[in-house]
């Protein structure tokens, strides 16, 4: 059984999650909105999921002033369920 790692960006508003997805997809990045994993407690139910290989390209986006980003988390999915770690951005 292997572990899967992915990342999510959470927002303080669903509108920002929608806008964020559009911006990143327009940049040609492989991202998508997903329901925010239960392991992260936030007020907004949608977050943007991406994989490690895109992290450097997406990093600049973390500091974007246009969007109200709540946080970025690493999600590790293994046999015992999911674990979320908040990243320093």
């Amino acid at each position: 059984m292997k572990e899967t790692i992915f990342y999510v960006i959470t927002f303080n508003s669903i509108h920002h999650a929608i806008k964020g997805e559009k911006i990143l997809i327009d940049k040609g990045l492989n991202v998508r909105t997903i329901p925010t994993p239960r392991e992260i407690s936030t007020s907004c139910g949608l977050s943007i999921k991406f994989y490690e290989y895109n992290i450097n390209k997406i990093k600049t986006f973390f500091c974007s002033k246009e969007l109200d980003i709540e946080g970025v988390y690493r999600i590790t999915k293994g046999i015992n369920g999911k674990e979320a770690t908040r990243l320093e951005i």
Partner: protein, 198 residues
């Protein structure tokens, strides 16, 4: 898109030959082979290893094993950790490509989120039926295709209403699941213990 093979009742080495052939026919994607014994299962995992393909084994019962072999590197990250495959006798009917009433934009997002959540929640429903504008979810360009393909690979039956595909003139764009008619759909609904209308 994946190829699905049912090699139950086939003697060794037929399942391996069938799977190998199916893998050769595709450039990238997955082949899922259903077999009914341990030996055939072992032979298929050996085949995957020998070809250096990623694979996944689901045991549904002592007489039913689903072996998924993935060809091509890009798909590996999408094959997320799997939990033993269990099904609930349940049909979900998607009567629209949007979830709930209100904003269309939000309805689409909620639907996308719902289908994503389906891939992560066990047990899986046994079948998904797409009707009316719901068929927009199973055709080219739909943003839920990856998730639906994942569900299909796990053995969930996916049916799209043929009349609806025809009405929206998208029949040739269907990429996941099968075309069905109202009789099959009715049977599916009647035979399931539970039917959920979305």
């Amino acid at each position: 898109m994946g190829t699905k093979l049912d090699a139950r009742g086939q003697d060794c080495p037929k399942p391996v030959i069938m799977t190998k052939k199916a893998l050769e026919e595709i450039k990238e994607g997955f082949v899922i082979c259903i077999v009914d014994n341990e030996v055939a299962k072992e032979n298929l995992t050996k085949l995957a290893k020998s070809l250096s393909h990623d694979y996944d084994v689901k045991k549904n019962s002592d007489k039913e094993f689903h072996i998924t072999i993935i060809k091509g590197k890009e798909k590996i990250e999408e094959l997320e950790i799997s939990t033993p495959n269990t099904f609930k006798d349940m049909t979900i009917v998607f009567g629209s490509d949007k979830m709930g009433k209100g904003s269309d934009e939000l309805g689409e997002l909620l639907m996308k989120g719902f289908i994503y959540a389906l891939t992560e929640s066990f047990p899986y429903p046994s079948s998904l039926i797409f009707l009316n504008s719901g068929v927009r979810l199973t055709i080219e360009g739909s943003n839920t295709l990856d998730d639906l393909k994942k569900l299909e690979a796990q053995g969930i039956k996916i049916l799209s209403c043929g009349a609806c595909l025809d009405f929206y003139k998208v029949a040739e764009k269907l990429v996941v699941g099968e075309v069905s008619n109202m009789y099959n759909i009715l049977e599916e609904i009647k035979n399931a213990n539970n039917t959920l209308m979305i």
